[in-house]
């Protein structure tokens, strides 16, 4: 007989006995369970109510810890009770207290949610969790008596385990309500973070907004302006809702920090009734305010990767992936360095930083065939200084095989845009200089889809944009 059926049959057995022995009591229990069940579907309309409801409701976070403590204590007492019968006696009392405390906590929780007009999925989930917990406790009470008579039946322990799981889940929902949904994961080491479902904050995960604005909102604002609650009709849990504003109109005015309601509210004196975050929640730090201000001043873009004037520690550019070790070829590289001609120069003392192909001294005579000779070093070359060399479009195919290339200087060469598309395979390329070449803007367009290409220079070429930003084009 499998364990599951054993559990089921013994549970049914116990249930039978309980019904037989305590019919009246059970009736009351069932009624309570029904009422509780109905609570599962109680609607919260999101309208704030009279003050005294809220006043009482705010004792919920205090009271809620009493049943938590008792529920955690329960399996401990039952387990230890195997050896020490006196503890088992105590467990019965603890269980009843736990049930009573749970009901009280739910009541105060309802007062809080109803009084403050909280509504939202997390509130509902938290409420349901609490109710489920009470029902489970009720079942425990019902089952326990007969369980005491028939020792070692697993059904009661299964119930206890379920109780703990429900408790954990419900407590987590409650924690998310008060501390924000990213409270646990915010400082989680990146290695662990990968296993947590990533929050789809924005379509530009490396943007300044996603990295430095959203986390501030998420920690400090979203608990009242998000899925849980929508105070003032304002949600701050996505870029779109942030820009859409709330009942009082828009809260972010791009390029106008002084006209942005959000910045006004967080910079009021904390004693002001309109100060945000309200209700004594931790205020924004000066650093966070400065960050938002600079972002708004710079245009409040959802895409911009950086904001001028704002430095954030730890926001260094990610180190590019290491290249292989070229030291086996060192003899050849040194020979090259000592002779006239193009040279391979280590980027740094660390071989994994790769090599630079330097042609400064022989640029005028460095042509396609010479570049082809460097093909065997291709995996190690991270930067190719080919400015003002004699290479032509033919070399583009060669260069497309330099898979680790991060910077490519082609300024002042005979390269045209004809074959430039082949460079799209260089996934690491972040710098491409096509100044003083014959490329046109149409030919450059396909390059813009390259994921890492951040610096594309087209100065003095037909593709040079006519804007006032001195020919700097950034694809990000």
């Amino acid at each position: 007989m499998s364990v599951a059926t054993k559990v089921a049959s013994s549970a049914g057995d116990l249930w039978q006995r309980a019904r037989q022995s305590r019919r009246a009591w059970l009736g009351a229990a069932c009624a309570t369970a029904l009422i509780l069940l109905s609570l599962l579907f109680v609607p919260l309309d999101g309208r704030p109510r009279a003050d005294w409801l809220q006043f009482l409701g705010r004792f919920h976070p205090l009271l809620v810890h009493l049943p938590i403590g008792l529920i955690v204590l329960l399996p401990v007492l039952e387990t230890l009770g195997i050896r020490h019968p006196s503890l088992r006696e105590a467990a019965g009392l603890v269980l009843k207290f736990a049930f009573a405390a749970c009901l009280v906590a739910i009541l105060f929780g309802l007062l809080l949610a109803y009084g403050s007009g909280e509504s939202g999925t997390t509130v509902t989930l938290h409420l349901r969790g609490g109710v489920l917990l009470a029902i489970e406790l009720l079942f425990c009470v019902a089952v326990r008596r007969s369980w005491l008579q028939t020792q070692h039946s697993p059904a009661y322990f299964a119930l206890l385990a379920g109780l703990l799981l429900t408790l954990t889940w419900t407590a987590h929902q409650g924690g998310s309500l008060t501390h924000g949904s990213n409270y646990l994961t915010h400082y989680m080491p990146p290695t662990l973070k990968r296993y947590v479902a990533p929050s789809a904050v924005s379509s530009h995960p490396s943007s300044f907004f996603a990295k430095h604005i959203y986390p501030v909102l998420d920690t400090k604002c979203v608990s009242c302006h998000g899925t849980n609650k929508e105070q003032g009709g304002l949600r701050l849990d996505s870029y779109e809702s942030l820009m859409a504003g709330g009942k009082d109109g828009i809260v972010i005015a791009p390029r106008n920090p002084d006209g942005s309601l959000l910045l006004k509210k967080v910079t009021l004196p904390p004693s002001d009734p309109h100060f945000m975050p309200a209700e004594g929640r931790p205020p924004l730090t000066p650093d966070e305010i400065a960050r938002i201000r600079a972002w708004v001043l710079a245009g409040a873009s959802p895409e911009a990767g950086s904001v001028p004037g704002i430095f954030i520690a730890g926001d260094r550019e990610e180190a590019p992936p290491p290249v292989g070790d070229y030291r086996a070829l060192m003899g050849e590289i040194q020979q090259m360095q000592q002779s006239q001609g193009a040279k391979l120069v280590p980027v740094s003392a660390k071989p994994s930083d790769g090599l630079i192909l330097r042609t400064t001294d022989v640029a005028a005579t460095f042509d396609d065939s010479q570049l082809a000779k460097f093909q065997r070093f291709a995996p190690f070359i991270v930067e190719a200084e080919l400015g003002r060399t004699a290479i032509t479009d033919e070399s583009i195919a060669t260069l497309a095989q330099f898979k680790n290339l991060r910077a490519l200087h082609l300024e002042g060469t005979l390269v045209t845009g004809r074959t430039l598309g082949k460079l799209s395979s260089l996934s690491q390329l972040s710098y491409l200089n096509l100044s003083a070449t014959k490329v046109t803007s149409g030919e450059v367009a396909p390059l813009k889809s390259m994921p890492n290409l951040r610096h594309l220079y087209l100065f003095n070429s037909p593709a040079e944009p006519a804007s006032a930003d001195n020919g700097i084009r950034s694809t990000q």
């Binding site: 040194q334 040279k343 280590p346 980027v347 660390k350 400064t360 001195n470």
Partner: protein, 516 residues
């Protein structure tokens, strides 16, 4: 006192080596050494061998490193283990404002001072600081607010004086440090400290350290070039000497090569009339042969430097005229740098040269502009000084940026110290003077390795003391080295029993807050 070799009452015996005879004969003589020479040299050799044994292998390595990475022809094989890590900047351009620009009139905006015009500066601000002899005797220290209004510029809203309309356009590209401070209050020690990390002469300067540590990026131009701006006789020009670009105890091939501001950039670089390239080459080959013999005989590494310098000069015969030939510069260059840039020796011209050198693989270029020492007549002098430098600096940064060079070039703008908030001499509504002030001054950087648009450090309301994030000259130099991939603590050269560093033995810290 050296005597004429043919003088009859010579104290020392005349040897054939001193006589004007064919070198073949001398060589022959040198091979048949006398017993005295033999014994004398044997003694020395034994002594040196014993000493070398005592020191162990370390001393041998040290000698081998003395000439730096350049000893091996071509660049890049770096037995110093440099760069320590992947550098953000390959090269640097240092705009040195000699004489100390007044931070308070240019960058360090103090709006509250206007109301305190001619008030005495509170004694508590100065504390127990010893002033220079020029103002220590002043009866009072009247506050002189900046004569020019400031405005906010760029997306960062950085405050810049009306004196610098061009710099104002690029504030979002610049990194300002307002809390730089130094130990010296007079020009010579301060400018030495800024450039060499030590107030005393004899230490290598930043450029020499870079040339020694990182080596050259090209074969045809020097690794480290110094450009001097023509002086304006109306300005108070403090002397700028070659001590500032000296290689100190490093091999002299790492010293800065100065290009002249007037006439030929390098004197005697052209072949004399009637000497063609082949003749010159033959001559140089012969000189090199002789120098190699000397090196073999004496073993002085300076001989090596001399060989390298002859070769460099030969290559510079063609590379320098190409460098200074601006006829192929497009019209957009002149639109950017202004017509002044066509006149050799102006600051704008030097900035343009610096950009051309960056393109040609010069590792470090330092441009000196003198005349910032405005002890009096600030109102008269400062507009002239700013007019001379403002557009050039802007043009350089902008030009590097549009050509894609700012991604691996670090541009630095700095003087040796700041100037006082109080007026030196009489203060009137129309004019004032400012004395030396080491406790705070503003510098800026731009380009590879530093975060654009950041203003780092703060001064008090008198722009007198640093109140937040002080950056000592040592920290500043450590940060520059960091941008070029060098850990300043590991970059040392043993000399006089000390691991000598650019950042001196006192601990220095890289300014993390401005790095990318």
């Amino acid at each position: 006192m050296k005597q004429h070799p043919l003088c009859s009452d010579c104290e020392d015996k005349i040897t054939p080596m001193d006589l004007p005879i064919p070198s073949g004969l001398k060589k022959e003589w040198a091979t048949c050494e006398s017993r005295r020479q033999f014994l004398g040299r044997t003694g020395k050799v034994l002594g040196w061998a014993a000493l070398a044994g005592l020191f162990g292998e370390a001393s041998l390595n040290y000698r081998a490193l003395a000439s730096g990475p350049n000893l091996q022809a071509g660049s890049g094989i770096n037995n110093l283990g440099l760069p320590h890590f992947a550098p953000k900047a390959k090269r640097a351009i240092y705009l040195f404002m000699s004489g100390a620009p007044p931070q308070i009139d240019l960058f360090d905006y103090k709006p509250n001072l206007a109301a305190q015009f001619n008030n005495d500066m509170p004694a508590s601000v100065r504390g127990n600081q010893q002033l220079t002899g020029m103002t220590a005797g002043q009866a009072r220290f009247p506050i002189a607010p900046a004569h020019w209004p400031f405005k906010q510029y760029g997306q960062t809203g950085t405050w810049i004086s009306d004196l610098l309309p061009y710099t104002a356009r690029m504030v979002d590209d610049l990194t300002f440090i307002k809390s730089t401070n130094t130990d010296a209050i007079n020009h010579e020690p301060a400018i030495m400290l800024m450039n060499t990390g030590n107030m005393n002469a004899g230490k290598p300067c930043l450029g020499a350290w870079l040339a020694y540590g990182l080596g050259s990026m090209n074969d045809n131009l020097p690794t480290f070039v110094v450009l001097q701006t023509k002086t304006n006789p109306k300005e108070n020009n403090q002397p700028v000497s070659s001590r500032l670009w000296s290689s100190g105890f490093l091999s002299s091939e790492f010293a800065g090569v100065g290009l002249r501001s007037v006439g030929d950039p390098v004197l005697y670089l052209q072949d004399p009339a009637g000497v063609d390239r082949q003749t010159r080459r033959k001559m140089l080959d012969a000189v090199e042969e002789i120098n190699r013999q000397t090196l073999a005989e004496v073993g002085d590494p300076e001989t090596n430097s001399r060989i390298a310098q002859y070769e460099m000069a030969y290559r510079m015969q063609s590379s320098v005229p190409e460098l200074t030939d601006l006829s192929k510069e497009p019209e957009s260059t002149w639109d950017l740098y202004g017509p002044e840039a066509k006149e050799p020796g102006t600051f704008a011209y030097n900035c343009l040269l610096a950009r051309r050198m960056a393109e040609r693989g010069v590792r470090f270029t330092q441009i000196y502009k003198r005349g910032w020492d405005v002890h009096d007549n600030v109102v008269g002098n400062l507009p002239v000084l700013c007019g001379e430098t403002d557009r050039g600096s802007y043009a350089l940064v902008t030009d590097l940026k549009r050509r894609g060079l700012l991604d691996d070039t670090l541009v630095i703008w700095a003087g040796e110290f700041g100037r006082t908030v109080y007026s030196q001499g009489g203060l009137s509504q129309e004019n004032y003077g400012r004395d030396h002030h080491p406790r705070c001054f503003t510098v800026w950087m731009a380009g590879a390795g530093v975060r654009p648009g950041v203003t780092y450090g703060e001064t008090d309301e008198y722009s007198y003391n640093v109140v937040k994030d002080p950056v000592h000259v040592r920290d500043f130099n450590a940060t520059i080295l960091h941008c070029l991939g060098i850990d300043h603590n590991k970059f040392a050269y043993k000399f006089q029993g000390l691991d000598q560093k650019l950042t001196s033995p006192v601990p220095a810290f890289v300014v993390q807050g401005i790095l990318t």
